[in-house]
Structure formats: C-alpha cells, structure tokens
C-alpha cells in the first residue's frame, strides 16, 4: 500500500453550491452503472425493436404501392392508428421488464448491501431527492424506449404522409403517447424500487422483478380458468396495464371490466411502494 500523504492535503478554494436538482448526480450515476452491467447494452438496444417495427409499419402504410407484392390480403394490416400505438406500448412489456431487471434491481438493494445510505444522507440530500434520483433512472430507461420511439414514429408518420391529416384525425394522440409513457415510467419506477428495497441482494431482486410480473399473469390465467370471470385480470400486472392502455388510446378493453379498477390496482402498487420506501430508506437507521 502506498505511503500516506505523498502529495499532501490542500484546502479547496471553491464554494459549495445549493443545487436546484440535487438528485441529478444520483440519476446520472445510476444510468452510468446500468450501462456498465454485462449484457445490458444488448438488452437496451433490443428494447428499441418494437419502435423500429412500428416505424417500419408507418413507412409501409405510407408507401403501400411499393409493398403490394408483399401484402396481398389487406392493407388494413399495416394501417397505423391509435390502436397501433396501444399495441406498441403494451405488447413489448416483457421486453421492458427484462431491461428493468438489469437496470433497476440494484438501485436501492446495492446501497442497502454496501451501507452507502449513510454517506448519501450525510450530504445535503433529503429522502425525496434520493428516491427521485433513483426513480429518474427508471424514468430515463422507460421513456427512452417508449416515449422517444413513439414520438419519432408519430413525427415520421406526418413526414411520410406529407400532411397533418393523421394529426387532425387524432389530435389527442400526442397527449396519449406522452401520458401513457409517463404512466408506464411512474408505475415501473415504483414497482422496481419497491422490490429493490426489499432485499440487499440485487440478484434476488432481479428474480423478484421478473417473476412477480410473470407470476401475476400466470395467476390470472389459472384463476380465470377456475372462476371463469374477467375480474381475475386484476391480478395481472400486464392485463391491468393493457386495460389502462386501452382507455388512454381509446380502444376497446380486452377484458370487459371497469378500467378504473385496473387503475386502482396499479395505483395501489405505487402507494404500497411509496409506503415501504418511506419506511426502508432512512438515514438514521444506518448510524450506530
């Protein structure tokens, strides 16, 4: 080990500032650490695949003549409507969960494991700053693979069409895209952080994030086959998000149950997460 004080200590002559966004370094670091994880870049790139597919559909829908040879049956198959956006947002949920397994599992779990909460809170940082910083990591990844491609697709649709006809036909669609992306980002942030704060082992959290999503869907399938009622969809994270997506994009819900119930279930998960996070993330518990 090197000798102590080889270079000597100097006082820093700068001035500490009060940040407007004290959580921003936490977010930046969280994103940087996610990209350092093995295999994550591949997953992140893969999460853009649904956006690329939707973009291809948009291109094809605007250039039908060029694709007549390929598409003989019906041009309705490749017509882009709000329903296409709903499918874009709800069909690849599995892919995005997989991305969060890598990017979000360790957000709180690693800090609990390595006792770093105490040095976070010995800084001029509040609990809400810490949580916001961690949540913003999930926001970043979810919005990057949902909002950004959806807005690009929407813009390309207008560019390829060469008119505002699509925009005028669905003037609310842009708001729906932004709103549903925000909804997904908020829900997944609460969902991931809730599970991340339950264990100090991020691998265990990875399994939890993935398995709870899958298990809720399997449970829904089993219960529905037993009780023969669509209300069992309320047990499934995927089905509930699908229901909300149908409402936001003005589509017919897959399950004939009030969407409000699905909103309540997902809202309940967020509320539970806020409650647990508030109890688990404490600066005082870590100084003995």
């Amino acid at each position: 080990m090197a000798t102590v004080r080889e270079k000597g200590y100097y006082h820093w002559d700068g001035r500490l500032v009060e940040r407007r966004l004290p959580w921003l370094p936490i977010t930046r670091t969280g994103i940087m650490l996610a990209f350092k994880k093995r295999g994550f870049r591949f997953l992140f790139a893969g999460a853009f695949l649904p956006g690329v597919v939707l973009l291809a559909f948009v291109y094809m829908s605007e250039n039908l003549e060029s694709f007549q040879a390929m598409i003989r049956s019906s041009d309705r198959l490749i017509s882009v409507t709000p329903g296409s956006f709903k499918v874009f947002f709800t069909a690849p949920l599995f892919l995005w969960i997989l991305m969060l397994v890598f990017a979000g599992s360790g957000l709180v779990a690693d800090d609990l494991k390595h006792n770093s909460l105490q040095i976070y809170f010995s800084r001029p940082l509040r609990k809400k700053d810490y949580l916001l910083g961690k949540m913003a990591v999930v926001f970043f990844f979810i919005l990057a693979v949902t909002l950004v491609p959806a807005l690009l697709v929407f813009s390309f649709k207008l560019i390829f069409a060469g008119s505002f006809k699509f925009f005028l036909a669905y003037p609310w669609l842009l708001l729906s895209i932004i709103g549903f992306s925000a909804f997904l980002a908020v829900f997944f942030a609460f969902y991931t952080l809730l599970l991340s704060c339950l264990s100090k082992n991020s691998r265990y959290v990875m399994v939890l994030v993935f398995m709870i999503y899958i298990f809720s869907d399997v449970l829904f399938g089993i219960l529905q086959s037993i009780f023969r009622t669509h209300y069992m969809a309320l047990f499934s994270i995927r089905a509930n998000i699908d229901q909300v997506g149908a409402l936001v994009f003005a589509q017919k819900p897959v399950h004939p149950i009030p969407v409000l119930w699905s909103c309540l279930v997902l809202g309940g998960v967020c509320a539970l997460s806020a409650l647990v996070l508030n109890r688990k993330i404490r600066g005082v518990e870590v100084i003995r």
């Binding site: 090197a2 102590v4 080889e6 100097y10 006082h11 500032v17 670091t29 005082v284 003995r288």
Partner: protein, 303 residues
C-alpha cells in the same frame, strides 16, 4: 466553538437516549467515548441533523441543528464505521460523486477527488473497482469521501476498527495529520481508548445519556485521583484492606504490580504508614499517570 449543545434530550419511545446534555467542543480533535447505549450515536445523529431533539438546542459550526441541517451536512465530513461503497465504481468516480452531492461543481469534484485520493494514499488504486479493495483501502476511501468537499469538521466513527496493526497506524497517522495541521476539527467516536488517547486533546465521556466527564485529557487525568504503582514483599491481604479502608481503589496486575488510585486529597505517606502497620515491605513505588482507561472506568463505573 465548533459544537455547542444545551440541555439536549432525546427519547426512543420510553428509552431516554440523551438526557439534558450540555456540551461545548472547541478546536482540535475531540474524543467521544462511552459504553454501548451511552448516547454517542444519538448525539452524532442529532449533530448530523438526522434526528430532531426532543428538547434543547445546539449549533454545529454556528448552524442550528434544527433549522440548518443542510448547511451542517455541507460543512461536515462523515466517515462511518461500516464499510460503505458503491459496487461497480472506481475510487475516483465514487469520491467525485459524493463531492458533487455535497454541492461541488462536477469538474471541481473530479479534480478534488484525485487530490484527496493522493492524500489518503490511494493514488495507485484509484481506478480499481471498489469491490476489489481491502479493509484498509476501504477505510482510506471513506476518509477520502469525507474530505472531498473540504469540510471544517470531521465526524469519524470507529475509524480504526477491523484494521491490522499497520493499517491502524497509517489511518491514525492520517487522522493526526488532518487534526493537527489542516484546520479541520475532528470528533472521533471510538471504543479503542488508546486511539483517543493518541489523537485527542479533549474527550467527552457519555454514560446513560448524560455527560459523565468532559474536558482536556490532561485536566481530567489529575482531577480527583492520584495513581501509584507499587510492589510489595509480604502478605498483602491486610495491607490492601487497609488501603481500601482509606477509600483507595486497588488493582493487582498479573505481574503482582499493585495500582493504587488514591483520592487526591489524601497524602501518599499514608500508603507507607499502612505498609508499616501491616508489616509489609514496599520494594517499588512510582507515582504514575492515570490513563484514559482509568478515567473511563472511574466515570462510567466499571472496572
């Protein structure tokens, strides 16, 4: 005064953790001592602004502990007892990150991180992943993150725990350097009395939530006890009983050295008179200094 608290009280439910604690800590290194449950951690928590006291008031570096917690945290460096790091990071990124969270501009934090890592002796390992650091290196890293924003006051919680003798010496040397030459005041909480004795000029001993002793070590040592070390020939039983009757505390070590803690108002000649009375020869007699251990045992009431 760097830390000033008045009538500070705090309870965890029905348990009183701090009871009317009044303290004034000045410059230099101050040791914080006390048995488990004495209130050391609670005091640190309150000083860092993690807990709001039930009663009383106080300031750290002039900032109110109730209202100006952010300013306190900006001016204080904290080195916790436990290993703490962020997996997947190197030391430069880690140190700069916490500098930035303290309010340093990003580039400045990065530059400063290099400086403090050089200072604590981690220059060669600064780009290595923290997961691969040894216990001693992690200890130095904690010191680096505590120093990165150039605090005016350092809270060190058990800084030498889990270190081998060489690592302990190096960390002690570092703390001594910071405390004596760098205009940084140090509050050192440790259960290793020798560390406090080596580093601190002043000490605060807490017991059962109250201040049991406070002041300069030199002054506390001479307050109300004189320590004499002696060796005797003959049956010491009656002699020792005689000494105890004179309100002296007597301890016998394994090598038959007798330590006599005599109330300061008594004359040491009384020891010789007791020896004469009980037919014991005193073969060795030295006036010694009471150690911090003695002081601790005296004020906390344990042997």
């Amino acid at each position: 005064m760097s830390i000033e608290v008045k009538n500070l009280s705090f309870r965890y439910g029905k348990i009183t953790a701090l009871n009317d604690v009044t303290l004034k800590l000045g410059a230099g290194a101050v040791g914080l001592l006390g048995p488990n449950g004495a209130g050391k951690s609670t005091l640190l928590r309150i000083l860092l602004g993690f807990l709001v006291p039930e009663k009383g008031e106080g300031t750290v570096l002039g900032y109110d502990i109730r209202r100006e917690q952010d300013n306190i945290r900006r001016s204080v460096g904290y080195m916790p007892e436990d290993d703490c790091f962020i997996a997947g990071m190197d030391a430069v990124t880690f140190t700069a990150y916490f500098g930035e969270l303290s309010g340093m501009p990003r580039e400045e934090a990065m530059k400063r991180a290099h400086e403090v890592l050089f200072y604590v002796g981690l220059e060669e390992a600064r780009y290595r992943l923290l997961d691969t650091y040894s216990a001693g290196m992690k200890q130095r890293l904690k010191m680096a993150q505590a120093l990165v924003h150039d605090p005016k006051l350092l809270f060190l919680d058990e800084p030498t725990s889990n270190l081998d003798p060489q690592g302990r010496d190096e960390v002690l040397e570092l703390i001594a350097d910071v405390a004596s030459h760098k205009d940084i005041q140090v509050l050192l909480s440790s259960h290793i009395l020798a560390d406090i004795e080596t580093l601190c000029a002043s000490v605060v001993i807490l017991n059962k939530g109250k201040v049991a002793a406070e002041g300069r070590l030199e002054d506390l040592r001479v307050t109300d006890l004189s320590l004499y070390e002696l060796k005797i020939k003959g049956d010491g039983g009656a002699f020792l009983k005689d000494l105890e009757a004179m309100k002296c505390r007597v301890e016998e070590t394994e090598d038959r050295l007798i330590k006599v803690y005599m109330p300061a108002d008594r004359n040491r000649m009384e020891i010789f008179r007791a020896a004469a009375r009980t037919g014991v020869q005193i073969r060795y007699f030295v006036m010694s200094r009471t150690s911090l251990e003695d002081l601790f045992a005296q004020v906390v009431g344990v042997d």
